[in-house]
Symmetry: C2
Subunit: 150 residues, 2 copies
């Protein structure tokens, strides 16, 4: 189970402390980029036309995992799998981003990333509303803490 970067993410955030709670929190959401390594550019064929993508990345700056913790805005202990905290057993991050076009053949312009500048990119998947969109879903203990500002 060995990973290799397919590119790198560029965001305005230089440290974990700078990062927003999620990519939709900053208003307006800044433009970020995903630069794909030359060896993988062929994989971008036909990516135009998708309005949203799923970026999968390796949160390499994250400290040791923590299986449960009390979130800063909460009073109860929550399990890591009931949160989107980066301190996961496998520090794989995932963001649904708005895709605003390709530049120079290898650079994707996106909004709603929330990771540190320089984060290694592992995968890009097209966002499919047929399988990825659940508007009637309920968010458990996070329901009361939801933020979505644009």
């Amino acid at each position: 189970m060995e990973l290799r970067p397919i590119g790198v993410l560029h965001t305005p955030w230089r440290s974990i402390a700078d990062c927003p709670r999620n990519g939709r929190q900053p208003n307006p959401a800044p433009l970020c980029t995903a630069v794909v390594l030359p060896a993988f550019v062929e994989g971008l064929r036909s990516i135009e036309g998708f309005s949203h993508l799923i970026m999968v990345y390796w949160m390499d700056q994250v400290k040791t995992p923590e299986l449960s913790f009390t979130p800063p805005f909460d009073t109860e202990v929550r399990g890591i799998f009931a949160t989107r905290s980066p301190r996961r057993p496998n520090p794989i991050g995932l963001s649904v981003v708005a895709f605003e076009g390709l530049e120079g053949g290898d650079t994707l312009k996106v909004r709603y990333l929330d990771c540190i500048d320089g984060t290694p990119l592992l995968d890009i998947k097209p966002y499919l509303k047929s399988t990825d969109c659940e508007p009637d879903s309920s968010m458990g203990w996070l329901e009361q803490h939801a933020t979505r500002r644009r």
Copy 2:
């Protein structure tokens, strides 16, 4: 960038050829399970109450990656990052699943998995409609091929 399984996924599908095109294609969608290893069960605290989860897994049966190919239902060559094909540079799979409860403290009952029985589980994330749901998204070249049967 080293991964470790946090559990294992159980589905009715024994080979890649058996797997549905996506987890929402079978009608009715069969009940599947995610069994979390004892060392990681603490991470499930407060997971009840989420109606949907994102399962992240390692598609260990997948052959060598292919950066572009012509999908079976298509006539044009598409890049891997414009498809959800498993033959990715990093074979990380992702499914938005309906969560139907915990059993025995370590087993999550879910629907809409599309991977092979025995697939190693890497992460469980709560599905958050505030950041993961994009009902107005467009699906590029896949728009004409969408399937969502329930």
